[in-house]
């Protein structure tokens, strides 16, 4: 394997990790506030569809972005009303959102475009194009570091850099601001927040809406940057992989970046080497494709050490009698 191939895999890893990272940070906000969200997948899918549709109609990726984020926020609000206002079961609300998004996107796409559940392919300004970072061209001539900068770091869509910046931003909000302190507290012991005179409902809604916003970016990226349009089930379980990464990262922002990069790397390997020839045996492509999912199962089965979720996670807050 030469250096160019390694760079190509790393570049792919970053591209593929980006939607996972957005979704993982989305889940981080929600779960740190004590609201479990397995509806990340559904929100991503809805956002991908809405952004692809509006970008196709308007010809602007930015209009698509607004539409995608909007769709995800609507579903987040539904999750909030079901699990915070009405104190419903958070897992069931999430499952319902996933089903709703999976069915509705294809149905509406077929009804509007009659392309078999797809949206028209996006071209030009309807997609987020790759951006060359400053000095990428000149730096490319510097040995080793140069090509890495030019080919791996530079040349991604804007949303990739947004995702990368979202990691320190999340860390700073969570651990350096009043809002972050309260958010973490409400996921650990909502009664402490309530008796301190702060609204539990308000905090949890804020967290769920931030989750919706980030999920929206994940979906928008899928349809308008990584892909070029919406296809049926295009989120492909990324919402669930993001949840696994979140557990792997133990609900912390920087490890979340590491965990999603690992998954992105595996997906990039699978894309580049459909059949991995190890000399002795040839690993079938199905196995390589399944690797991220196998890793997900391994992580969820708890083979990576003890992960302690926020203590009030999944439990609707009811004042005790």
């Amino acid at each position: 394997m030469d250096y160019a191939a390694i760079l190509s895999i790393l570049e792919g890893a970053i591209r593929l990790a980006t939607p996972l990272l957005f979704a993982c940070l989305a889940g981080l906000f929600s779960e740190r506030a004590g609201v479990f969200d397995i509806g990340l997948e559904g929100k991503m899918l809805a956002a991908a569809f809405a952004s692809a549709t509006l970008a196709a109609v308007s010809g602007s990726a930015w209009v698509g972005l607004a539409a995608g984020v909007g769709a995800s926020l609507v579903l987040a609000a539904v999750h909030g009303v079901a699990s915070i206002t009405f104190r419903g079961n958070q897992l069931i609300a999430g499952v319902a959102i996933n089903f709703l998004a999976a069915g509705l996107t294809v149905l509406v796409a077929q009804d509007v475009f009659a392309l078999g559940g797809r949206t028209p392919a996006l071209t030009g300004a309807a997609r987020f194009q790759s951006i060359a970072l400053p000095f990428a061209e000149t730096a490319a001539t510097i040995p080793v570091v140069g090509p890495f900068y030019a080919r791996v770091i530079s040349g991604h869509a804007l949303l990739v850099y947004v995702a990368a910046l979202a990691v320190p931003a999340t860390w700073w909000i969570l651990f350096r601001t009043r809002f972050g302190l309260r958010l973490r507290a409400v996921g650990e012991n909502p009664a402490a927040v309530d008796t301190a005179g702060v609204s539990v409902t308000g905090l949890r809604f804020a967290a769920v809406m931030i989750c919706g916003f980030l999920c929206g970016l994940a979906g928008v990226y899928l349809a308008t940057a990584l892909g070029a349009g919406f296809v049926k089930d295009m989120s492909g379980g990324r919402g669930f992989i993001a949840l696994a990464a979140l557990i792997f990262a133990k609900w912390r922002p920087w490890p979340a970046m590491g965990a999603t990069m690992l998954f992105g790397f595996l997906q990039a390997v699978a894309t580049r080497y459909p059949r991995l020839d190890l000399g002795v045996v040839v690993v079938p492509s199905q196995f390589i494709d399944a690797l991220p999912y196998i890793l997900t199962v391994v992580i969820l089965a708890g083979f990576v050490g003890k992960a302690i979720p926020p203590r009030a996670g999944g439990i609707p807050y009811v004042k005790e009698r």
Partner: protein, 529 residues
């Protein structure tokens, strides 16, 4: 309101200003249950005011209304003479009210400082708030003996220190009125003494303190005035100096109660239970029992005193047959299996051991099941309850249950009622009826009167004494020293998984036992004979 003897200006202090707290006609219902009924009370500034009453008398509800945790259906609240609306805790904090709940409202994996500033931060960033809180904490520690490490994580602190954090939280929010709900339930006697010193310091600074407790001794020792609640009503407000524990108990229950347990001296016989070097290691690999050796003889009550969490629960669990241990335990001379492979609750019962667990709602009863079903649990293999090889004789069980409910004064005596519909005291009587009526050779009983009304406590204590007098052995675990001192014929004190020593109740006192509970053996050479 039918007040016994209403007073104003309690504690002998001049009542120049308006009372710090005045409640007028507060009522609150939860569905059909009237938790508070037209409550009126005045608390003078700069005093410690006690509120006593049985479980379910409405004390905690009343204070939760004052703190904005619940909203009153009717009535008004005046703070320093001005009427205030307290729709939520934020409003209560603004009115200068702070509350220390019985179950602390702390974020366990946050530091002390983070817990203190939560909800009272200045500005959007944390750093300035944390710095200011650190200074303020140092000042409060100096002024009120409230030392606590600001950077310690809550879950690593002792319960007594966690409570200090709760008090500090209230003071940091500039509370002038501090409400404490059952503050000493989880403290060692020494920690409780320290708490009362802190409260006295606060009173000296002009703060007003409301102390909710069911321990009459604390009321007598610490308060200036006291209100008694019964069944949602305020039945009396008295000057503490003018009343007595007997009078308060009578007001609480509505009839005369015996605070002292009457019992004849024990006549211990042969050893029934012999424990030799019992050790228990929990799932995390922490040794919870570090070599316990004890013996309980027929016709005696051995009381195990200690602060909760020092291995008493593990001792009961391993003897009751649902935890593993190492060492030797003999019951009536025959060794019982501790490995968990050949033994469970069933074989323990067959060996003559009955168990009234500490947590009756989790281990003693199935809360959603009817009383008659709960009466049969654990003994459901009894041939008395069987019909043929496969079926249970439910009618027989119900008949049996009706008799047991009647004999143990369980109210209402309805075998069809689900366990969760009974009050705490009646749930406990249900469990006791099931276990005691089997006439076991050994009764293990944990916290028999936790969450139980005074009236029921009296009944339960008499039943335990009667079982002892019938020549049975009883191992009593309780965190209530008063209970241990009045019931036990011999007292063993547990600390950190070890027995600190044995004492005879007539030859010791609360001070000595309290020191032993904290891990100190005063005059180590003095041992009970």
């Amino acid at each position: 309101m039918e007040a016994g003897r209403a007073t104003s200006g309690p504690g002998g202090r001049p009542d120049t200003a308006a009372p710090a707290i005045e409640l007028r006609g507060i009522s609150k219902a939860f569905g059909p249950v009237q938790a508070n009924r037209a409550i009126s009370v005045r608390v003078a500034r700069g005093t410690i005011h006690g509120i006593v009453g049985e479980n379910g008398a409405g004390k905690s509800t009343l204070m939760s209304i004052l703190y904005g945790f619940y909203r009153a259906d009717e009535g008004e609240i005046l703070i320093n003479g001005a009427r205030v609306a307290i729709p939520d805790s934020e409003a209560a904090i603004r009115a200068g009210i702070g509350m220390v709940f019985q179950h602390f409202k702390l974020v366990e994996n946050f530091t002390v400082l983070e817990n203190i500033i939560l909800g009272a931060e200045e500005g959007r960033l944390l750093a300035p708030s944390l710095a200011r809180a650190r200074e303020e904490l140092a000042r409060l520690a100096r002024d009120y003996e409230l030392q606590v490490e600001p950077d310690a994580v809550i879950e690593e602190l002792s319960v007594g220190h966690q409570q200090r954090v709760e008090i500090l939280k209230a003071l940091y929010r500039k509370a002038d009125i501090l409400i404490l709900d059952e503050p000493t339930g989880v403290l060692t006697p020494a920690e409780a003494d320290h708490l009362f010193r802190i409260l006295a310091n606060l009173r000296a600074e002009g703060k007003t303190i409301v102390l909710i407790t069911h321990k009459l001794r604390e009321i007598m020792a610490a308060t200036d005035s006291v209100s008694v609640m019964r069944r949602g009503e305020m039945v009396a407000t008295l000057r503490t100096a003018d009343t007595s524990p007997e009078e308060l108990a009578e007001l609480m229950v509505g009839r005369k109660v015996l605070l002292e347990v009457e019992k004849a001296p024990a006549t211990p016989g042969r050893p029934v239970l012999e424990i030799d070097d019992l050790r228990v290691t929990d799932r995390k690999g922490v040794e919870r029992l570090k070599g316990i050796s004890l013996a309980v003889r027929a016709g005696e009550i051995l009381g195990i005193a200690g602060v909760a969490g020092n291995g008493q629960s593990e001792l009961l669990e391993v003897l009751g047959g649902y935890a593993r241990g190492r060492g030797r335990v003999r019951m009536n001379g025959a060794e019982i299996d501790l490995s968990g492979r050949h033994a469970d609750g069933q074989t323990r019962r067959a060996a003559g051991i009955a168990h009234v667990p500490e947590d009756r709602q989790r281990l003693g009863l199935i809360m959603d099941f009817a009383a008659w079903e709960n009466i049969a649990f654990g003994y459901h293999h009894d041939s008395l309850y069987q019909r043929g090889a496969l079926l249970m004789d439910n009618r027989r069980i119900r008949e049996d249950a009706r008799g047991k409910l009647g004999r143990f004064d369980v109210r209402p005596p309805d075998p069809w009622l689900a366990a969760k519909r009974f009050s705490g005291g009646n749930q406990q009587k249900l469990v006791l009826a099931r276990e005691i009526e089997r006439s076991p050779d050994l009764l293990l009983v944990g916290q028999p009167t936790r969450g139980v009304d005074i009236g029921a406590i009296e009944f339960i204590h008499r039943r335990l004494i009667a079982l002892r007098d019938a020549g049975k052995a009883i191992l009593l675990v309780s965190v209530e020293l008063d209970e241990i001192l009045s019931l036990a014929d011999r007292i063993a004190v547990m600390f950190d998984g070890r027995i600190m020593g044995e004492r005879l109740p007539e030859a010791t006192d609360e001070r000595e036992l309290g020191l032993m509970m904290a891990g100190v053996v005063p005059g180590a050479e003095r041992e009970a004979g």
